[in-house]
C-alpha cells in the first residue's frame, strides 16, 4: 500500500513533468494531433469550446476559446462567415497561409498574435483570446476578441468625498489604467506589465511617471515584485504583504485607494502605483505618517478650512489612541491631577462599579471592536439593528445595571468615534491596535507606563522607513519647505486670468 502510494506519487510527478515538457513544445502541422493535445490539456474543462470549421467537407480550421469570454459577434462576422460561406479564397497571391490571411484580411483592427508554443497558446486562450489553428500550418492565430464583463464605474464605496471626482476603480485592470490615462494624458505615464501568481497568472501593472518618479523607490518596487513567488494573487493585499518593509508594524506602509485621482496625485508626487487585476484597490508606494492623516479632497477645498480640519484630525487621532489610557492613568494613579469637582463626579459614578476601571475599559473596547466588525459583516438589512442593540444594550443597560460606570462608556465611545475621523481608514487600524498595549501599560504603571509606551511608538515610527522613505518625513528628518503641507495646507499661488493684462481680452 505504502509502496503503491509512493509509486503513484512518482507516476504523477512524471506525468506532470511530461505535460510541462509538452506544453513548452511547439504545435505540429497536423491539426488532428494538435486538437488531441489541447483536448487532453483541457480535459474536463467544460467551458472550453472546440469548434471545427469544415470547409469543402474537410476539417480546415479549429477555433478554440473560453465560452462566454469572447465576443462571438466579431468571430462570426470576421472569421466564420467569410470562411464558411465563401470558402477559402482561391488564388491567394502573396498570402500563403491562413494565419497571414487572418492577420491581413479578416481582422481589421483587432490585435493579432501568431504563436506556435502550446503553453503560450493555452495562456492566451485562458485570458479571453480566440485561437485559430489551421490544417497544415504550425502557427496559431490568437485574436484578442475578449468580451470583458465588468461592473460599472461607481463612486468609491469606502472613500466618499464632498468634492472631486466620483470615479472609483473597478475589478478590471484595463479599465483602471484607462481611468489613470484619462487623468494623466502624457506619454511619460508608464505602465509596466507583469504576471504574478503561478496559478492565477494575475496581470499586475506598475505605474509611474517617468522623470518624476523617485528612481530608488521604483527600482526597489521592481526588485521586490520580481521576487514574489506565490501561487495566487486574489487581491492587491497579497502584493502589499509580499513587498512591505516589515509585517510587525501596525502602521500601513503603502496607501490603498479606490480612487484614480488619489493614485494620479501620488504619481505626480513621484510615487509608484501598483495596480492588479481583479481588485478595485490600487497600492501607492510609499506612505508616510502625515499622509495617513490627510484626505484626498484636502487639495480641492479652500486652504483655511482644510488647515483647520487637519488640526482637528491630528488632535482626534492622538485622542483616539490616548484617551482611554490617560483616563485610567489619571483616575487610578494620579487622582490629584484631575480637577476636584470632576474627580468627585467620577468617584460618585464609580461608587457602585464592581469591576476595576482597567477591566471595564478593556471590556468596552473589545465590545466596541466587535460591534464595528459586526457592522461590516452583517447584511445591509440587519446593519442598523446592530447599532441599536449596541448603543442600547451595551451602553445604556450596562450603565443602569451598574456593571459599567458611565464615564467608561463616554471614554470608549469618544475614542472609538474619533478613530473614524481618519480619512485613510487603514491608518485608523494602526491607532486602534495601539490603544490596547497603551491600555495595559497605563493600567499597570500609570502615566509613567503610558509615557514609556508613547516613547516606544515614537522610536518605532522614527526607525520605520518603507522603501527608503522615512515614515515621519517631513517632520523627522525635517524638510522646512514641505512642512507647509503637514498640519497646514499652504495655498497655491493665485493665477489672475481676468483684467486687461490678459491678451484674450484685448480688442
Amino acid at each position: 500500500m505504502k509502496r503503491f502510494g509512493k509509486s503513484h506519487l512518482k507516476n504523477k510527478l512524471e506525468t506532470d513533468r511530461q505535460s510541462t515538457e509538452n506544453s513548452s513544445s511547439n504545435i505540429s502541422k497536423n491539426i488532428a494531433e494538435n486538437e488531441q493535445f489541447l483536448k487532453n490539456m483541457f480535459h474536463n474543462c467544460s467551458d472550453i469550446i472546440f469548434r471545427e470549421i469544415m470547409i469543402h467537407g474537410e476539417t480546415k480550421l479549429l477555433l478554440i476559446h473560453v465560452d462566454g469570454m469572447i465576443n462571438t459577434d466579431i468571430i462570426t462576422s470576421n472569421v466564420l462567415k467569410p470562411l464558411m460561406y465563401d470558402g477559402l479564397p482561391q488564388g491567394l497571391g502573396t498570402i500563403d497561409s491562413i494565419a497571414q490571411m487572418c492577420e491581413e484580411e479578416l481582422f481589421s483592427v483587432l490585435p493579432i498574435k501568431k504563436l506556435s508554443n502550446y503553453g503560450d497558446i493555452v495562456d492566451h486562450i485562458l485570458k479571453g483570446n480566440a485561437a485559430i489553428l489551421a490544417d497544415g500550418e504550425n502557427t496559431a492565430v490568437l485574436a484578442d476578441v475578449s468580451k470583458l464583463e465588468h461592473r460599472a464605474i461607481e463612486e468609491p464605496f469606502n472613500e466618499a468625498s464632498i468634492r472631486g471626482s466620483r470615479e472609483g476603480f473597478i475589478e478590471l485592470l484595463r479599465m483602471n489604467t484607462i481611468m489613470l490615462r484619462r487623468i494623466l494624458a502624457t506619454p511619460k505615464l508608464k505602465f509596466e506589465s507583469l504576471k504574478i501568481g503561478n496559478v492565477t497568472q494575475t496581470d499586475v501593472v506598475i505605474a509611474y511617471i517617468e522623470g518624476t518618479v523617485s528612481m530608488p523607490i521604483l527600482n526597489e518596487v521592481r526588485k521586490r515584485i520580481n521576487r514574489i513567488q506565490i501561487d495566487a494573487i486574489l487581491d492587491s493585499g497579497y502584493i502589499e504583504e509580499s513587498i512591505e518593509e516589515t509585517h510587525l508594524s501596525p502602521f500601513p506602509q503603502m496607501l490603498v485607494t479606490e480612487r484614480p485621482d488619489v493614485v494620479a496625485a501620488g504619481l505626480l508626487h513621484g510615487k509608484v502605483a501598483i495596480l492588479c487585476n481583479g481588485t478595485g484597490c490600487a497600492l501607492v508606494v510609499p506612505l508616510t505618517f502625515w499622509e495617513g492623516l490627510q484626505a484626498h479632497d484636502d487639495y480641492y477645498e479652500r486652504f483655511l478650512f482644510v488647515s483647520l480640519i487637519r488640526w482637528v484630525r491630528s488632535l482626534f487621532a492622538f485622542f483616539s489612541v490616548l484617551f482611554p489610557s490617560v483616563y485610567i492613568a489619571l483616575t487610578n494613579f494620579h487622582p490629584n491631577l484631575v480637577p476636584q469637582e470632576l474627580m468627585m463626579t467620577i468617584a460618585m459614578l464609580r461608587e457602585r462599579a464592581p469591576l476595576p476601571t482597567v477591566i471595564e475599559v478593556f471590556m468596552m473596547e473589545l465590545i466596541f471592536e466587535g460591534l464595528r466588525e459586526a457592522g461590516i459583516r452583517l447584511p445591509k438589512q440587519i446593519g442598523p439593528l446592530v447599532s441599536i442593540v449596541g448603543a442600547l444594550v451595551i451602553g445604556e443597560a450596562a450603565v443602569s445595571a451598574g456593571i459599567i460606570s458611565a464615564p467608561i462608556v463616554i471614554v470608549v465611545s469618544a475614542a472609538g468615534i474619533s478613530s473614524f475621523i481618519i480619512p485613510r481608514f487603514r491608518f485608523g487600524y494602526a491607532l486602534r491596535i495601539l490603544r490596547f498595549p497603551l491600555l495595559i501599560l497605563s493600567g499597570l504603571f500609570g502615566l509613567f507606563g503610558l509615557a514609556i509606551g508613547i516613547i516606544a511608538i515614537l522610536i518605532h515610527l522614527i526607525q520605520l522607513s518603507p522603501f527608503g522613505t522615512p515614515y515621519l518625513t517631513p517632520v523627522a528628518p525635517q524638510n522646512t519647505r514641505r512642512l507647509k503641507d503637514v498640519l497646514m495646507r499652504w495655498p497655491r499661488k493665485r493665477a489672475i486670468y481676468t483684467g486687461p493684462d490678459n491678451e484674450a481680452d484685448q480688442p
Binding site: 487622582p335 490629584n336 493600567g443 514609556i452
Partner: protein, 383 residues
C-alpha cells in the same frame, strides 16, 4: 523580533524597578479629604478634623428618582501629639485610605492660632501626599471643626465654598505654599484671611488675622473687613473691592467699584533713617452717587476723586499706625523692600527689625481714578 522582545522585557523590568507613583487605587478605594481643620482642645491637646467626601451623596447630574439624597460629606476628628499622629486614628474609623491630593482648605481655630502654629507646619510640606495648593483660613471666635461641618448655601462642601468665595471677594489666590513662603522669608509677617460662624451656622468672611512668626507663628490680632482690604491692597493680594465714602463737598456718599489696583513701596534712607513711601493707585467706576455733584463734569469728578483719595489715604495711615503700635508686626513687607533696596544695610537691620518697624516713618499717597458711571447727575428725589 527576538531583539524587540528582549527590549520590551528590559523595559518592563526598568519600569518595575523605578520607585514612583505606580500604586493603583480605584476612586472607590479612596477617602477624598477636602478640608483639614486644626484645633486646640480645652485640655490643651491638638485636635485634627477632616472633611471627607461621601461620593454616593454627591449629586452628579443623574438624579436617582427623587429618593432621599444622602449627606455628601462627613467630618471626623481625632486628637494626637502632632498632625500625622492623628492619621492612624482616622484610618481606624474609615474603610478607605485617606487621599489628601484634593484638599482645598486648611482651617486653624483661634485658640490654636493664639497658641502658635509654627511647630505644626512640617507635616504639610514633608508628607508627599499633601497638597500645598490648599487655601488657608483662621477661624475667628470658634473651632475649625464647626466651620467644616457647616452646610454652605450653594456648594455641597464648605471647603469649595470658601475657595470660591475668595474669588468672589476679589482676593487674589493665596495658597498654603504662599503662606509658607511668607512665614519663612525675611522682613515680612504673614497674615491670613479669617472666617467666623454666625448663629445660623453660616460662615462669614471677616477680615484678616495677623501673625507674628518670631514668636512661633502666634496670632496677635485681627483686622476688620475694611482694614483687610487696605492691607491686601498694599501687599498686592487684592484684585478689586468696593469703597464707599462720604464726600463733604457734595454732601453725600459715593460708592466706587475699584478694579485695577496698583501699589508701589519705596524706601528712602536719609542719615541712616529709613523712610517708607507707599503709593497706591486704583481705578474704578462710580456705582452709586448720593451727592449733589455731577461726575460727568470734570470739575465735580475731580472733587469726588480728591476727596475719596484723601479719606482712603487717612484710613490707610490709621491702619498702618495701628499695626505699628498695636501689633508690632510687619505685615506689609516693608522689611522685604529694605532687604531688596539696601541688602548690605539689611544684614545689620534684620535682627531687630521688629523693634524698628513700629518706629518707621511711613507716608501714604493714594491716587484714585474714577469713571463717571452710567448716569449724568445723581438721581435723587428730595422732599
Amino acid at each position: 523580533m527576538k531583539r524587540a522582545g528582549t527590549l520590551c522585557f528590559v523595559w518592563l523590568l526598568m519600569i518595575l524597578s523605578t520607585t514612583g507613583c505606580w500604586n493603583l487605587r480605584e476612586p472607590n478605594q479612596l477617602a477624598f479629604v477636602l478640608g483639614t481643620g486644626l484645633d486646640l482642645t480645652k485640655d490643651g491637646q491638638l485636635q485634627i478634623s477632616i472633611q471627607i467626601v461621601i461620593p454616593s451623596g454627591v449629586d452628579g447630574g443623574q438624579e436617582s428618582g427623587g429618593g432621599t439624597k444622602g449627606k455628601s460629606f462627613r467630618v471626623i476628628s481625632a486628637t494626637g501629639k502632632n498632625v500625622y499622629d492623628t492619621v492612624p486614628s482616622f484610618q481606624a474609623q474609615l474603610s478607605r485610605s485617606l487621599f489628601l491630593g484634593h484638599r482645598r482648605i486648611i482651617l486653624i481655630g483661634q485658640r490654636l492660632a493664639e497658641h502658635g502654629i509654627g511647630n505644626l507646619l512640617d507635616e504639610f510640606i514633608r508628607n508627599p501626599q499633601s497638597e500645598l495648593r490648599s487655601r488657608i483660613y483662621v477661624v475667628k471666635n470658634g473651632q475649625a471643626k464647626d466651620i467644616l461641618s457647616a452646610e454652605p448655601i450653594f456648594e455641597p462642601f464648605t471647603s469649595t465654598a470658601l475657595v470660591h468665595q475668595q474669588a468672589t471677594l476679589g482676593l487674589k489666590r493665596y495658597y498654603f505654599r504662599d503662606f509658607l513662603s511668607d512665614a519663612l522669608s525675611q522682613g515680612l509677617q504673614p497674615m491670613l484671611p479669617t472666617v467666623r460662624l454666625t448663629d445660623s451656622k453660616q460662615f462669614v468672611y471677616s477680615g484678616t488675622a495677623v501673625f507674628n512668626k518670631d514668636e512661633g507663628l502666634k496670632l496677635v490680632g485681627f483686622l476688620d473687613d475694611k482694614d483687610s482690604f487696605y492691607a491686601n491692597w498694599i501687599t498686592n493680594r487684592q484684585a478689586g473691592f468696593a469703597l464707599t465714602s462720604f464726600v463733604k463737598r457734595g454732601n453725600g456718599n459715593v460708592s466706587l467699584k475699584l478694579q485695577s489696583l496698583g501699589q508701589r513701596i519705596r524706601v528712602k534712607m536719609v542719615d541712616k533713617q529709613i523712610k517708607i513711601d507707599v503709593h497706591l493707585t486704583g481705578e474704578g467706576t462710580i456705582v452709586e452717587n448720593n451727592t449733589d455733584l455731577d461726575p460727568t463734569k470734570l470739575k465735580d469728578l475731580h472733587i469726588i476723586q480728591d476727596e475719596l483719595s484723601e479719606t482712603t489715604q487717612r484710613s490707610i495711615q490709621r491702619l498702618i499706625e495701628k499695626v505699628q503700635k498695636q501689633y508690632k508686626t510687619d505685615i506689609f513687607g516693608f522689611g522685604e523692600r529694605v532687604h531688596q533696596q539696601y541688602p548690605n544695610q539689611w544684614k545689620t537691620m534684620k535682627r531687630d527689625w521688629n523693634d524698628t518697624f513700629p518706629e518707621l516713618a511711613v507716608s501714604v499717597k493714594v491716587n484714585l481714578q474714577c469713571n463717571p458711571g452710567e448716569n449724568n447727575s445723581s438721581v435723587k428725589i428730595m422732599p
